[in-house]
Each structure stands twice: as structure tokens, then as C-alpha cells.
């Protein structure tokens, strides 16, 4: 299966100060030994994210989704691989505004996500959050944050609450290569390492912070090395292969859950679409995108592996069909649900009455 991530960032992992032990373990055994059923499940989840996002793009084009809408197409293996290593409903997850994929990978109902995108009463935030602001406390999915980098400090706070409650849980905080240049990220690294907070910092390096390529924005483009100043071990992971992501995530989860403090994972991936729906993506060539699609696509990679293992094309077609059905139903649901009552304007500003 597709094994080579975009090589732009291929460098020896964080090597200084013995912070590369997790990386060494990952390089020694990069492929998670998934059963056929597990790999089929990963495939199904990745296909769900892709079809869901394609549909969201269509609904946006029809004017049914407004504002900002950031699609996760191309990055599916990251959320699916990492979420699969977590204890659902026990470990906390927080991310930025490109949040649909993480929610789907965490098992949240596509209908209420799509209905939130269309701003309907049945949306997961009752139509008051939109694409960038979605939460599911029952899944311990804490958003969905629109301010670039905020989820890193907030995630450290969630990790703090796990440590304080001694519940054995951990937090995964996802952020992009753009957010990785925010000051509060490093403030959080410092405190997380100082207090040994149970948190995995995941940089989803999709190579572009909006329209700015990593090398134009970042003095140190190897983000996994950026924890070194805080003694945080780094991992440099191929984010386009779900089995590699899962193998790396297992190592990080084990290390963090044992009480060793944070890990910084860099997941090298790629987004096929623009930064948001309104981005024509003129800052990169069509060829570059096509090359990623043709040679590094996470879904095609998983598919090839499944076929190699002897899973029939029919079985995969069946999954594709099922997913199309689910996405279709979620879109119908999102289009047909009513908008929120006008009285909802004034609810949930405060919890209590004073």
C-alpha cells in the first residue's frame, strides 16, 4: 500500500537529547497489523469522510451551507488512524475549524453534523455553531474551534482535567502547520511538559497554512522537532497511510497513558481542496495536487491493501454504496430539517438565570 508520504518533510526525526525513541520504535515497525475487519472499518470511515465532504462541498455550492467551510479531503487517514487508537468516550479530542473528519471518525452521527452545516435546528449545535463550532460532550469531542491555535491550550486544559481526576484518560489536540506558529502552542508545550500532562499534540501538516506554503512561513519546517526545547519527544509520521498513522498513534498513546507527559506527532498529509470553499488554490500547481491524488491517496492505498489481502471488489463496492446511502440520507436530513426557532436566538447565552 502507499507507503511514501510526501517527501517534502522527510528528515531524520527529532534526534537531539534522546527525544527520538518513539520515532525509532515507529520506524522499526511502521505498519499496524490490522485485521481484515479493522482495515475494512478504516476504509469505510475514510470513504465516509470523503463522500461526506464532497457532498458538503456540493451543498455549499448550492448555497445551503454558508460562511466558512473547510473540507478534510485528502487528510482522512490522520483522523481515522489516530481516533482508532483512542478509547472512545474516555479520551478527549479537540481540533480547529477543519473538524468534520474528526467527528465522523469519532463515531458522531453524520446527520447532525450535516444539519449543523446547513444551520438547522437538528444540527449538533442546534444551528448556532456552524462548520467550525461543533461539539459532542458525550463523545468527549470538545470542538471545533475557530481561533487558530486555541485548541492547543484548551486541549492542554482537557489533559489537565484527566490528570486532576486521575481517570487514566488523555487528550489529543489536533492543529495545522499554520497554527504551529502561534505563540500559545509553545506556552502550552511548556506547561504540558512541565506538568507531564497526558496529551498528544498532533500537527496535521497539510503543507499549506491557507495559501502560505510551509517553507514560506516556518523557519523550522520539521514540526516534530519543535517540542525539543521543551523535552517533548517527536514523531515524524506518514499521514497518508492509515496503518502507519495507527502504528505511530499506538506508540504515542502508550507513552502518554503511562504518565510520561506529552508527545508531539507531525502527520504529513495533503489537502486536495482549497483552504476553505472560497479558496481557488492558485498557490500550488494542478500537477502537484494530481500527483498526491494519484500516488499518495489514503483511500486508494487502503483499497489496494485490501485487494492484496483478497477482499473482493464487490465487498468494497458494497461499502461504497452503503456510504453513499448514509451521506445521501444525511444531506436529505440536513436540507429538510427546519431552521431554529427565532426564540433560539436568546437561549444558551448563559447557563443560569441571574
Amino acid at each position: 500500500m502507499a507507503r511514501t508520504g510526501k517527501t517534502q518533510n522527510a528528515s531524520p526525526a527529532a534526534d537531539a537529547n534522546g527525544l527520538d525513541h518513539l520515532q525509532q520504535a515507529y520506524e522499526a515497525d511502521r505498519l499496524y497489523a490490522a485485521s481484515d475487519d479493522e482495515l475494512l472499518h478504516f476504509y469505510e470511515q475514510m470513504v465516509l469522510i470523503r463522500r461526506f465532504e464532497e457532498r458538503a462541498g456540493q451543498l455549499y455550492g448550492l448555497g445551503l451551507i454558508g460562511g466558512f467551510c473547510h473540507l478534510y479531503i485528502g487528510q482522512e487517514a490522520v483522523a481515522v488512524g489516530i481516533q482508532s487508537a483512542l478509547q472512545e468516550g474516555h479520551d478527549s479530542v479537540i481540533t480547529g475549524y477543519r473538524d468534520h473528519g474528526h467527528m465522523l471518525a469519532y463515531g458522531i452521527d453524520p446527520k447532525v453534523i450535516m444539519a449543523e452545516l446547513t444551520g438547522r435546528e437538528a444540527g449538533i449545535s442546534r444551528g448556532k455553531g456552524g462548520s467550525m463550532h461543533m461539539f459532542s460532550t458525550s463523545h468527549k469531542f470538545y470542538g471545533g474551534h475557530g481561533i487558530v491555535g486555541a485548541q492547543v491550550s484548551l486541549g492542554a486544559g482537557l489533559a489537565f482535567s484527566h490528570q486532576y481526576n486521575e481517570d487514566g484518560g488523555l487528550c489529543v489536540s489536533y492543529f495545522g502547520d499554520g497554527a504551529a506558529n502561534q505563540g500559545q502552542v509553545y506556552e502550552s508545550f511548556n506547561m504540558a511538559a512541565l506538568w507531564k500532562l497526558p496529551i498528544i499534540f498532533v500537527v496535521e501538516n497539510n503543507q499549506y497554512a491557507m495559501g502560505t506554503a510551509v517553507k514560506r512561513s516556518s523557519a523550522e519546517t520539521h514540526f516534530h522537532k519543535r517540542g525539543a526545547a521543551f523535552t517533548i519527544p517527536g514523531m515524524n509520521v506518514n499521514g497518508n497511510d492509515v496503518l502507519e498513522v495507527r502504528a505511530a498513534a499506538n506508540l504515542a498513546v502508550e507513552y502518554v497513558r503511562a504518565g510520561n507527559g506529552p508527545v508531539l506527532m507531525e502527520l504529513n498529509t495533503y489537502r486536495y481542496r482549497g483552504h476553505s470553499m472560497s479558496d481557488p488554490a492558485k498557490y500550488r500547481s494542478r500537477e502537484e495536487v494530481q500527483d498526491m491524488r494519484d500516488h499518495h491517496d489514503p483511500i486508494e492505498g487502503a483499497k489496494a491493501e485490501l485487494i492484496k489481502r483478497g477482499v473482493s471488489e464487490d465487498k468494497l463496492k458494497e461499502i461504497d454504496k452503503k456510504i453513499r446511502q448514509i451521506v445521501s440520507e444525511s444531506a436529505d436530513f440536513a436540507e429538510s430539517s427546519p431552521e431554529p426557532e427565532l426564540s433560539e436566538l436568546y437561549t444558551d447565552v448563559l447557563v443560569e438565570t441571574y
Binding site: V152, G157, Q184, E187, V349, L350, E352
Partner: protein, 448 residues
């Protein structure tokens, strides 16, 4: 000629202290750098060093003396020493400390019945600082989810000693020193609240919270709404706010109007010890994010505090501090003391002023303000803060929109001058509100 050693001001707001211990005796030779005495303030115990060489002449103030005013001569050095080295005695010698306005215990004449505190409740004297500390300690005993984090809150016992003793009682798990990293730890506190804890995030002053204001507003205040009511954020951000004393523009700002502008936040700015304690306890118990604005200059003031097992006051209710019939003075935080002082002056001139302490800035208790306006028909707002887009402006708008027919004169705003706060003593005084300006404002609306 003898050099006079004077009681030093060891902090910008120190007015008096205790001469805890002399480490020298009369006749001892001392040289520059020797420690002469230990001086205790309500914030800390400090060592007092010699600046000049010589022989200790007379010890004027014996050890153990409390309430020694800054600038008092406490000893003399080197009788008959070189002339001319005169008063350069001790360290930050006799800084012309802020006019000690012996405001404690604040007189609240004609105080109306306080239904919030049952009749017959025993009262004790407490500083605002102690009241705040007790509020936190009581809530930490009551709820294991409550913890305190901030710069110097634990081992140092609080930059302004508000968290004194908490580390000892609750340990380092619940009283947490943070690095100097406001944006980061405000985010961690907010995230911990989202994760189900009850954080109290102390800012050394709210001036530094500007580094963190994104989390206070975008993360804490808006999330419950954006999540359709799913995600609560019961965090308290607290610390001193407003002008302190001679600390310059960057350390002297009132953020009350900033935070009061934001839906989703509760904003509290108490004046006396009872309200500080009762409202901080309510803030910690609230399911909503609270910005709790204290004032460094009133930390050390003493007030009556009810001796109740659980003194919790309602958020969102103003308090009539003094009843009157001729004019309403609306204020909050440190302005309340000045308003009460002004009311006394006015009483002597035959003007009977009602003084209202808003206590909570958001949600604002319009009813109490409008009821008072209905009675007095005149409003002056006294606010230690800039006038533009202020709480005073808001009160003026409320009076106009909802009480227009009750107004016999335009609302007058008595605020600080519209300039960054200067350092020079005279300029600083000129920039800040005081009782005489409030008196002048009242005369304007009463046409006197």
C-alpha cells in the same frame, strides 16, 4: 548631624506596616547593606537594609509596633556624622505615599436593611484580601473540583497575598504556580473547565489578561452558545483591576467596560469585604464563566463581614449602600468608597445622596438603578475608568431609554481623564476621579 531612618514604603500601595523586629540595637556600627529590621505589611515580611554607614543612634519605634505610617522616623544613625549626607537614609525612602485616606472601616451611614444578610448576624472585621481568600478556601473545601492557578499563587502566597495559606491547606495539586504565560494558562484553565473542573484563574493583574483575552472571550464566553448549550465553561478569572498607585499606564486600567460588553460572560466588581466574599463564592459556584474584577487599593481595607457558615450573595443585584432622596450616585469597585465620601460632604451641604454599588457589571441590575432614579430624578455615575464607552455611558443610556420621564437633569459621568495614566504623582492625581469631582458632578445635576 543624625540621619533619620524612616519607615519605608515597600510596595506602591503600602501606607503603613508593622515594625516586626530590630536586628540592631542602639550603639551598633552598621554599614551599607546590613539588615536593620524586619517590617511586615499585610502582603509580606521585608528586610530593611541600611544605606549609610554609621552608628545606630536612637531607636525611636520599638519592635512589635503595629500601624507605623510610611515616612515615620523609626531610628537615627550616626549622630555627629558628616553633614550633608542627610536624609538619604533608607531604601525607597519616604515615597510620598498615596494620601492615606483612612477610609476603613468605610462609613455607611443610613445603610438600609440588608435582606441578604439575616438580621442579628454577628459581624467581624475583615480586609477584602482575607475575605477573598476565605471565599476560595471555603469553596475548595466544599468542592474538590475547585482549584486555583496563576503566577505566584502557591509558594509565593500570591503576588498580592490573596491566596495566602491556600497551598498549605490544599497542596500543590490544587494551588498551582504557572509560568508567566497568560495566554497559555488562561487556555488551560478554560479547557479544564470544559473538561468538568472548576478553575479559578488568577491574573496578577487584569492588565496582563489582555494577553489572554482571546480565551476569555472567544473560548470561555462563546462556547456554550456555539455548542447549543452543550458545553459549559464554569471558570472564574480573577485578579486586581483598575489603577493601583504610581505604576504607570500599562499597569493601570479598568477593564470593566471591556468585559461587560461581551454576552456570555458574568462580570463582577465588588467594593467591600462582604460583597467580595459572597460574590466570589457565587462566582465559583456559577455554571457560567465569570470575570471577577478586584482592586489592589482596597485589598487592605477593613470592612464588616458577616459571620455566616455560607455567605453567598446573588449575582446580578446592585446594592443600595446609602439611601437618599435628592440624587443617585451609581458606582462600583473603588468608586463606591469615593461616592460614599462625596455623599457625606454633600449631606453637610444639605444634599441627600443615594449611593448604589452595581457590584455586578453584567448582567447589570437596571431595576435598582431605575427605581432610584424614579425617587431622586437625578443620576451621577462615578467610575474609576475612562469615560468613552464606559459603564457610566451604559447607565446614561439606560436612564435615557428606560427612565427618560424620571430625569430632571442630564446624566453626568464622573470618570477618569481620557488619557493613559501618567506616573508623576500630581498628574496621576489629576487623572483619577476623587470625591470632590463627584461632589461637583452632583452639584451639576442638582443645579446647585
Amino acid at each position: 548631624m543624625a540621619i533619620e531612618l524612616k519607615m519605608p514604603a515597600l510596595s506602591p500601595t503600602m501606607e503603613e506596616g508593622k515594625l516586626a523586629r530590630w536586628l540592631v540595637k542602639e550603639g551598633d556600627e552598621v554599614k551599607s547593606g546590613d539588615i536593620l529590621a524586619e517590617i511586615e505589611t499585610d502582603k509580606a515580611t521585608m528586610e530593611f537594609e541600611a544605606v549609610d554607614e554609621g552608628t545606630i543612634g536612637k531607636i525611636v519605634v520599638p519592635e512589635g509596633t503595629e500601624g507605623v505610617k510610611v515616612g515615620t522616623v523609626i531610628a537615627t544613625i550616626g549622630e555627629g556624622d558628616v553633614e550633608g549626607s542627610a536624609p538619604a537614609a533608607a531604601a525607597p525612602a519616604a515615597a510620598p505615599a498615596p494620601a492615606p485616606k483612612a477610609e476603613a472601616p468605610a462609613a455607611a451611614p443610613k445603610a438600609p436593611a440588608k435582606p441578604e444578610i439575616p438580621h442579628g448576624t454577628n459581624m467581624k472585621t475583615s480586609t477584602v484580601r482575607e475575605a477573598l481568600r476565605d471565599a476560595m478556601a471555603e469553596e475548595m473545601r466544599r468542592d474538590p473540583r475547585v482549584f486555583v492557578m496563576g503566577e505566584e499563587v502557591a509558594q509565593y502566597q500570591g503576588a498580592y497575598k490573596v491566596t495566602q495559606g491556600l497551598l498549605e491547606e490544599f497542596g500543590p495539586k490544587r494551588v498551582i504556580d504557572t509560568p508567566i504565560t497568560e495566554y497559555g494558562f488562561a487556555g488551560i484553565g478554560t479547557g479544564a473547565a470544559m473538561g468538568g473542573l472548576r478553575p479559578i484563574v488568577e491574573f496578577m493583574t487584569f492588565n496582563f489578561a489582555m494577553q489572554a483575552i482571546d480565551h476569555i472571550i472567544n473560548s470561555a464566553a462563546k462556547t456554550n452558545y456555539m455548542s447549543g448549550g452543550q458545553m459549559r465553561c464554569p471558570v472564574v478569572f480573577r485578579g486586581p483591576n483598575g489603577a493601583a498607585s504610581r505604576v504607570g499606564a500599562q499597569h493601570s486600567q479598568n477593564y470593566g467596560p471591556w468585559y461587560a460588553n461581551v454576552p456570555g460572560l458574568i462580570v463582577i466588581a465588588p467594593y467591600d469585604a462582604s460583597d467580595a466574599k459572597g460574590l466570589l463564592k457565587a462566582a465559583i459556584r456559577s455554571e457560567d464563566p465569570v470575570v471577577f474584577l478586584e482592586n489592589e487599593l482596597i485589598y487592605g481595607r477593613s470592612f464588616e463581614l458577616p459571620e455566616l457558615d455560607d455567605h453567598v450573595l446573588p449575582i446580578g443585584k446592585a446594592r443600595v449602600m446609602r439611601e437618599g432622596k435628592d440624587v443617585t450616585i451609581v458606582s462600583y469597585s473603588i468608586g463606591v468608597g469615593l461616592a460614599l465620601e462625596a455623599a457625606e460632604t454633600l449631606a453637610a451641604e444639605g444634599i441627600d445622596a443615594e449611593v448604589i454599588d452595581l457590584r455586578t457589571l453584567r448582567p447589570l441590575d437596571k431595576e435598582t438603578v431605575l427605581a432610584s432614579l424614579k425617587k431622586t430624578n437625578r443620576i451621577v455615575v462615578a467610575e474609576e475608568g475612562w469615560p468613552t464607552c464606559s459603564i457610566a455611558s451604559e447607565i446614561a443610556a439606560i436612564a435615557m431609554e428606560d427612565g427618560f420621564d424620571d430625569l430632571d437633569a442630564p446624566v453626568v459621568r464622573v470618570c477618569n481623564e481620557d488619557v493613559p495614566l501618567p506616573y508623576a504623582n500630581n498628574l496621576e492625581k489629576a487623572a483619577l476621579i476623587d470625591a470632590s469631582r463627584i461632589v461637583a458632578g452632583v452639584k451639576k445635576v442638582t443645579y446647585r
